[in-house]
Symmetry: C2
DNA sequence: CTGAAAGCGCTTACAG
DNA sequence: CTGAAAGCGCTTACAG
């Protein structure tokens, strides 16, 4: 049906070997230039497309990368991850095979099996939030964990630098002159929440300040009423904080709602910083939310590049000493919700 | 490196032909039962995984489906589409190769080429909103357009039934007793917006009502201020509408904000219906938004099933007469923002 | 019931 | 510089 290398060779009257070499570009000094031209033209004319399956079989490796994701459906970051990954793969002439496991460990094991039967060059194993994951069986060494890590520190794993992100957010507030900074943290996050708290405390300590118990709460950031109540408690006390740093953007949106109910203007009366840079949500925040960017796109690009080239990209962060764990910076994005405290 | 069929055959002392038949399940009456057992056990013991590249080369078809998407990154529906597609593919023992074109026609052409060089069984071409698309070059016949359509009515194309969705939303309001229903439509949507308007008018006409000019506006639903102003205009007129149907959920959220500013309680003073069922946003609506579900998951499942089996699933909608165009129902999801009008 | 052989489309030593 | 041949791992007629 499709045009094969033999068709092209026959058309020109050369061997398939010559055609193969020319079309894959490795013919210098092995095929004369006029012949090479003729072969290229014939391939063009016949609309030849190389059969990647045959190539893969021959070379025991295909130009595909596996991308296993735990929960595409329910999370907004999956799109960023997949978009950056497919784009990078394409830039390297590779294709991305995406499998969603929905968090089922057996499905992950099966996915590894399916992918290896397709001779993928490597597998990105994407968690949907920063956490410890179990490595699927028979994963082999071409595996990179995206937005997560595992026990074995020598398994390549990429996570956001939560401490730095939270630190920079609060440092920004301190620099603006805030002295009483509130922090609304998440109660379910095992990994990110304590790290962000550490970042908050570090930034405050650098200014000789402390995180006041009256100014911090750990809540379920998916429980609307609970968040509202916690925010109201913090904002209605005497000597209320003049700035709020929130575990994520949706929490920040709720804080903004409560502030509005209390007649507090943002950023004049209260400064507000979120985390995630979840744009869909931020579009509805007026003024636009100052927040910390999660480095999903960076991590995805790094992962695919590393898998394709076989070596960690030089332009990324250095690994934690003695490990294959990489922390990716979370840049602060200053928008409209932060300002100096009221006089 | 990897265990091959020959390894398994050698282990048992049979031909690769026998092993192949047994392991692919088509050996009845061709290999004796004890031998078949021995082969299966050996395959298990050696952890044999079939090389799908070799199979694909041999059979000139692989167990992969191509999924081309225009704008994964910027749209919330991509996740639903991809999640449903990978899940369905897996249920049929197939893998999904995802390519993002970012709306670039050349990239789409290249994607078709890359996919066909991988011998995919078919290609889903997913638009990110209901609109007319250009079919990529050399697409062949194993192509299904998801959430879009093209000139040629014989090219398989799936779209949401916008008329029915909008109709059911407004019929719901009318049934609750509303007589003055406002409609905020989108100005950029070439396909969906007119269809939704038709649905609105149909539902009103069925109750002997009409869409009043004073109760409808066509706005840029991504321009926050414009939406707010239009909503305020409509809600502050004498004889204001008692219900609002919006082009999408984000518009509805803005209407809710304006209603709150005007001291209107939802749903007691004003009923509100959105469109999309964009859950990430709806989580922040209190009470929870009544809306119309976009059938992305249904369409994705239908597409993959059709591509794998080679025939349109019987349990889906019938095509528009004389075409290969399918309209998928958009179910109304009644939640907390609709109630009878105030007395 | 069973095995030897051909061939899918490619690339890579090898011999000229 | 050039071509004939082998072989990647599989399945499918074919002959016994």
């Amino acid at each position: 049906m499709a045009v094969t290398l033999a068709d092209v060779a026959r058309e020109v009257g050369v061997s398939t070997a010559a055609a193969s070499m020319v079309l894959s570009g490795r013919y210098r000094g092995r095929v004369s230039e006029p012949r090479a031209d003729a072969i290229r033209q014939a391939a063009d004319r016949l609309n030849y497309v190389r059969n990647e399956l045959a190539l893969g079989l021959r070379t025991a490796q295909s130009d595909t990368i596996g991308f296993i994701t735990q929960q595409v459906a329910s999370t907004p970051y999956a799109t960023t991850l997949i978009a950056a990954a497919t784009e990078t793969a394409r830039a390297y002439g590779h294709l991305l095979i995406v499998i969603e496991t929905d968090g089922d460990p057996d499905a992950a094991d099966a996915a590894i099996r399916d992918l290896s039967s397709h001779q993928v060059r490597g597998v990105a194993y994407a968690s949907m939030y920063h956490r410890r994951v179990r490595v699927p069986r028979h994963a082999g060494d071409g595996l990179i964990i995206l937005d997560g890590y595992t026990e074995d520190p020598h398994i390549c794993a990429l996570v956001p630098d939560e401490v730095q992100g939270a630190h920079d957010a609060v440092a920004h507030l301190v620099t603006l002159g805030h002295r009483r900074v509130a922090f609304l943290n998440d109660c379910d996050s095992v990994d990110a929440a304590p790290l962000r708290r550490r970042g908050v405390e570090m930034a405050l300590a650098e200014a000789g300040l402390a995180l006041l118990p009256s100014c911090t709460r750990t809540v379920n950031t998916r429980a609307y009423a609970e968040m509202k109540q916690a925010t109201r408690d913090i904002l209605t006390q005497p000597d209320r904080p003049t700035a709020f740093f929130c575990y994520n953007d949706s929490t920040a949106i709720v804080v903004a709602q409560v502030a509005a109910e209390l007649g507090l203007k943002i950023p004049d009366d209260l400064s507000l910083v979120g985390f995630d840079n979840f744009t869909t949500l931020i579009e509805f925040s007026v003024p636009s939310l100052t927040t910390v960017q999660l480095p999903h796109a960076d991590m995805a690009r790094w992962t695919i590049t590393s898998l394709v080239t076989g070596t960690p990209p030089a332009d990324g962060p250095a690994p934690d000493p003695g490990t294959a764990r990489y922390r990716f910076p979370c840049p602060l994005i200053v928008r409209g919700t932060t300002a100096p405290p009221p006089a």
